[in-house]
Symmetry: C2
């Protein structure tokens, strides 16, 4: 009765990821690495379930052939169904560790002590989501003889350059984003309740395409309207759209947790002339940045191409215009590695994937027109095919 979950990668790919992680651990002098970021746990183990509200910790040691995962007892089958780990590497804490006096990190500390790893140098993702201050303190107290070092971003760095299979998932996700954007633009109209349009967008994101169903996005579709378009992270409300309003739609297609985000801005009626002008400038800047993309170029050089193109216009932008993306779990699809902003000297390599989103917010409205792309051998491959312009309806 029932089938195994189909795994998105074969064991060889997981082994390669593990090897690269162990290499970087060696460079940083780490004997043990404790991962808590669900995206990093997924990347190295395949573990995929909406269970990260209780601690789950993946343990990588310098020489091991597989990571060891620690999950809550009731998530045992999630682990055996979705990961490439042998049964002996799936370890479980009981429910008396959940929202209780005991912390699962004490379980991990006991485990490291039993294995003779108590006195080693242990990397911890100090700034990862789902590694609370309490979790860190519990580890530190239960394992005082260990040297704890910050290893935030170590595995994120391994994730930065995608394999061909990962790129393939991004491509499918881009097609889903394209379709959902079409459905969204269709659904959003004067008099329509915003929450209904959001429902239609979600339906399209998950129904996916004929080839591929969609996975849930790490960030819900962001759909600010009216003056709210100046607030990029507002979600929908219960109100109906009004004539003349601007509406931003930022969403991501997702396949096997790989995100291809896409944003567009529409006006429900004739936009002010200055909004048309600003949108044209933003598209020019976006395309200048895309044109600047190729292996060997730095992230800040891509940002510079944007900035030089918009100079002298009323479009201004203080914050980053893009970031690397890939695997995402709530609260974000941002990879937290390379950012397209001044000072980021990350050198582009083939198969890095970015979301280029130069959102610009004025006093009364905002405009977002974005693309997700892969760095190719000599340029950029965008994942969605949707008109790059202000949409007027």
């Amino acid at each position: 009765m029932g089938q195994l979950v189909r795994r998105p990668f074969d064991d060889a790919e997981y082994r390669e990821r593990l090897r690269e992680t162990q290499l970087r651990m060696g460079e940083r002098g780490l004997d043990v690495l404790l991962l808590t970021d669900p995206a990093n746990v997924y990347y190295l183990s395949g573990y995929d379930a909406y269970s990260f509200y209780t601690p789950q910790i993946l343990i990588v040691t310098a020489e091991s052939a597989q990571p060891v995962g620690v999950w809550r007892e009731q998530d045992y089958r999630c682990a055996t169904e979705t990961t490439w780990l042998d049964d002996e590497n799936v370890l479980l804490y009981t429910d008396d560790y959940v929202d209780a006096e005991r912390h699962p990190m004490e379980f991990v500390a006991d485990l490291l002590r039993d294995r003779g790893d108590a006195g080693t140098t242990v990397g911890v993702e100090m700034d990862a989501y789902y590694l609370s201050a309490r979790a860190y303190r519990a580890l530190h107290r239960a394992l005082p003889e260990a040297t704890l070092r910050d290893a935030t971003g170590l595995v994120n760095g391994v994730r930065l350059v995608k394999s061909d299979r990962e790129v393939d998932y991004h491509r499918h996700a881009g097609k889903i984003a394209e379709r959902a954007m079409r459905v969204g633009v269709e659904a959003i109209d004067v008099g329509v309740r915003q929450s209904e349009a959001a429902g239609a967008v979600y339906d399209a994101l998950l129904s996916g395409t004929a080839e591929t169903g969609g996975d849930y996005p790490a960030i819900v579709p962001l759909m600010p309207s009216g003056r709210g378009t100046g607030s990029p992270h507002l979600t929908w409300t219960d109100e109906a759209y009004e004539a003349g309003e601007p509406v931003i739609l930022e969403l991501a297609g997702v396949v096997n947790r790989y995100h291809s985000p896409l944003a567009r801005t529409m006006f429900l009626g004739e936009p002010p002339a200055e909004a048309r002008e600003a949108a044209a400038v933003i598209v020019e800047g976006l395309e200048a940045a895309l044109d600047a993309v190729e292996p060997g170029v730095t992230c800040e050089a891509v940002e510079r191409a944007w900035r030089e193109r918009i100079e002298g216009t009323r479009v201004e932008k203080e914050s980053r215009i893009g970031y690397s993306t890939g695997i995402g779990y709530p609260p974000t699809w941002i990879e937290r590695t390379a950012n397209i902003r001044p000072g980021d000297e990350t050198v582009l390599e083939e198969n890095m994937v970015f979301h280029l989103i130069p959102g610009v917010w004025f006093d009364d409205y905002g405009i977002e027109i974005s693309e997700s792309f892969r760095v190719t051998g000599d340029g950029a491959e965008t994942f969605a095919d949707f008109p790059r312009e202000l949409i007027v309806k």
Copy 2:
């Protein structure tokens, strides 16, 4: 152009929440309280945007008439649109604190120092989501003269008993859950791709009812099928449902961030006799627990009523059978206060809200049949009206 976001509570209710929080701070000897859990930030400020992937900190001091919030610069308008805070209490850090060497907690430390609060006793939500170990360390280093104390759960405790308005949102959310469950049961069928059924469920959750549109749930609809029903936190896949399979559907209707979860289990074909028997036992146990609910009774007594009813059957349950719920942001709608499990001596009061979910997982399948309810003056008021039984299709 555009309207203010409609605020779900008036200022008087926020003031009452603040007063109760300050009272509890006093009992614990806290001069300052730093909140990072988005649910707690929302509860005391009204701030509602999908921006919690960068740090946002609400500062409550013993005597202040409003909290002070610290957000990322580009979220300024999210704060002014959604909170009851005066402009002077909305403070912003620039983008060079985002995924960078500097941490927003250093900004908070500077602020406390400027206000003369550096040497005080500061409560920190050590085990909250979105308070990373690095954030805590940055605060500790930048404010060495402060006494930092763990204040995890302080505001969660204030949230435990709902106001009549909050209950009203739970009721509307329950109606949405009921409708989405109906849509889900309709959509799930042999040969249907799981992701398509998930799309239909999401559409129903957000489209809501004639009176109320739906907000996004903190946990995506959990829809394990086949052997996966033994893994409660699996989401959907790309596969089609198969004849004879069990399917669990656990979802929550959400209004103004208030969650009313609901779970049911269906079989696509004739279930094994033992599954029918187990479901009947679970429903009996669930109803025994509901019957035990009234003000003055403890959480563990409610669990005992369940356990005594199922004794002597093959249904066993190690983990908690329920938890308080209310406001939720990813990754959870669990309030992390009272749990319906042995050892939890929380005394029920009128207007506490729980999700009672005695999920039971066997080797080949699992069964979940749940209810969300409010403690009334003399019993329990459930929020959804959906047949409490194994669904056979």
